[in-house]
Symmetry: C2
């Protein structure tokens, strides 16, 4: 099969990668669409030391696996816990210390014709969701995670820093639960995109303070400092930004204002599927372009352009 | 009266500072003991731009004020909210945006013969608590705040980073609610002091990981990085350290492990008074030395020595 392969120094499309061979409990899924995430770009910059086939956002069709799954269209949770340790037993497999993570840690990912994945990680996709929509389930689940971690703040004043792909998903999730949401969008194009989704958006940090909840989806090392200025005393900041660089930040305001900072990673798939199916979350305007797998290098370049929206790969193209 | 006065560049003991004149709702308190806190040393380094009489840990006797208070021995909460704003109305006066703070922000403090303070901030001290014990109510309340913010974690594995004055109070509070507490104490003297209080203590960071709760009471910019390594996935870090310097820290582990970081400042006085009265918290071993007010400069110098325990001022001496 074809796949984008990262060897630690170079990414290239390889035409003759061996097809994945599933072990017990796994499926082989033919990839229908894969999405390029900022984390993929970080990985291709050396983040986490990954080697192999990146890609963790996908929708596909099961080719091998349990009879009731073969032929169905699925999305997949990306953390593969060991299933045997204390953490997994406590239902926290996303934090299993010996987990692998699709296309991120120790497991080949979705920038390929096919991938293998534990059957238990799969969720069926309703027919009403087309591939270009369903491929957003994984990042939207990560957005729902921010909501899940701050359920007590529903209905409050919320600021989302960053009108990138993830930021606009988070903003829609928070709006859907009744928050009064403002998006901080520094690029004019991002500001217009946020407004086209019906979201209140502001271009600079001057007027943002006193928020009950601030979500840093800036993808930038300066997002946290902005968040600390924008959160009210006793407020909460959800950090979605993993940047492969250090934060140089004054944490005295965190202590003085007794702010809570919560790291947030992967989230629950069922509300993401439901949010797309109900139309509560709109993703079509977030798609910038779709490339064939043979053009994956060009797709990555486009995804890395400042202000780029979601770039999709379509191996069938 | 006499007071230690900080003019922004120099601290000196002044013999003829005018006595404080109370306004409506305030008391004048004669200071029996005052404690020197690391925050005071930061203030004398320029922190928060304070000018005037520092000092916020005290026990004293009411000289002027309501008849039912005059003559009683009291400790005092240090945040003076406006009492009229939305934040105060919501019972969060400690976070009133126009508050003053005794000896820290816009209000003269306790390194003096007398201070003035809102009567509503005062708590009577039981006769069973001597002055050297009662002067710990304020810092112990700050320690109880860490417990109050993490009530759901009671009984878990907790690490306290730093065996200084605040760290050893926090460790005793957490032990008192049933946590299995370990203290990270890098100085041999601090390690022995922790052990003398019956606390488990370790000298280095090699063996500390997987904690449900980590409290950074290190007073050091590197405390947070240690805390991030020591907390388990989905664990909680309480930050007690306000250092007048920036943190250079990699926050990717916070996101990946979905750790919660909570800033923690001042706390509730009643459990602190009760904890001292019951003997659940021991403070006598934490006292390094007591100085008269005339020797306050020397007292500050001693308080700033590495590994110094609590230095007290006794204006009556």
């Amino acid at each position: 099969m074809r796949a984008l392969v990262w060897d630690g120094s170079r990414a290239r499309v390889v035409a003759d990668v061996p097809d994945p061979i599933p072990v017990a409990g796994e499926c082989v899924v033919r990839v229908l669409r894969a999405g390029i995430c900022s984390t993929d770009l970080e990985i291709l910059g050396g983040y986490l030391g990954f080697r192999g086939i990146p890609g963790h956002e996908f929708v596909g069709r099961v080719e091998q696996g349990p009879a009731d799954l073969v032929g169905t269209r699925v999305v997949g949770e990306i953390n593969f816990g060991c299933g045997r340790c204390e953490v997994c037993a406590a239902g926290r497999g996303r934090h299993c210390p010996s987990r692998s993570v699709l296309g991120i840690v120790g497991a080949d990912g979705a920038f390929a014709d096919r991938l293998r994945i534990p059957s238990a990680n799969l969720h069926r996709v309703p027919e009403s969701l087309d591939d270009d929509t369903a491929v957003f389930v994984e990042p939207l689940a990560a957005a729902f995670r921010a909501g899940e971690q701050t359920a007590a703040l529903a209905g409050g004043r919320s600021l989302v820093i960053g009108a990138g792909k993830l930021g606009l998903l988070v903003a829609q999730v928070l709006r859907g639960r009744g928050d009064r949401v403002v998006v901080l969008a520094r690029r004019p194009g991002a500001l217009r995109l946020a407004e086209s989704l019906g979201l209140a958006a502001v271009p600079d940090t001057g007027s943002v303070d006193g928020f009950d909840l601030v979500v840093d989806a800036s993808g930038s090392p300066d997002g946290l400092a902005i968040a600390l200025r924008a959160a009210r005393p006793l407020g909460t900041i959800v950090v979605k930004t993993t940047v492969a660089s250090r934060h140089d930040v004054d944490l005295a305001p965190l202590v003085i204002d007794e702010v809570t900072l919560v790291g947030s990673r992967c989230g629950p798939f069922p509300p993401a599927v439901a949010g797309l199916a109900s139309g509560a979350v709109t993703v079509a305007p977030l798609v910038e372009a779709t490339f064939g797998l043979g053009d994956a290098i060009e797709a990555l370049r486009r995804a890395g352009e400042p202000g780029a929206r979601k770039i999709l790969l379509d191996p069938g193209r």
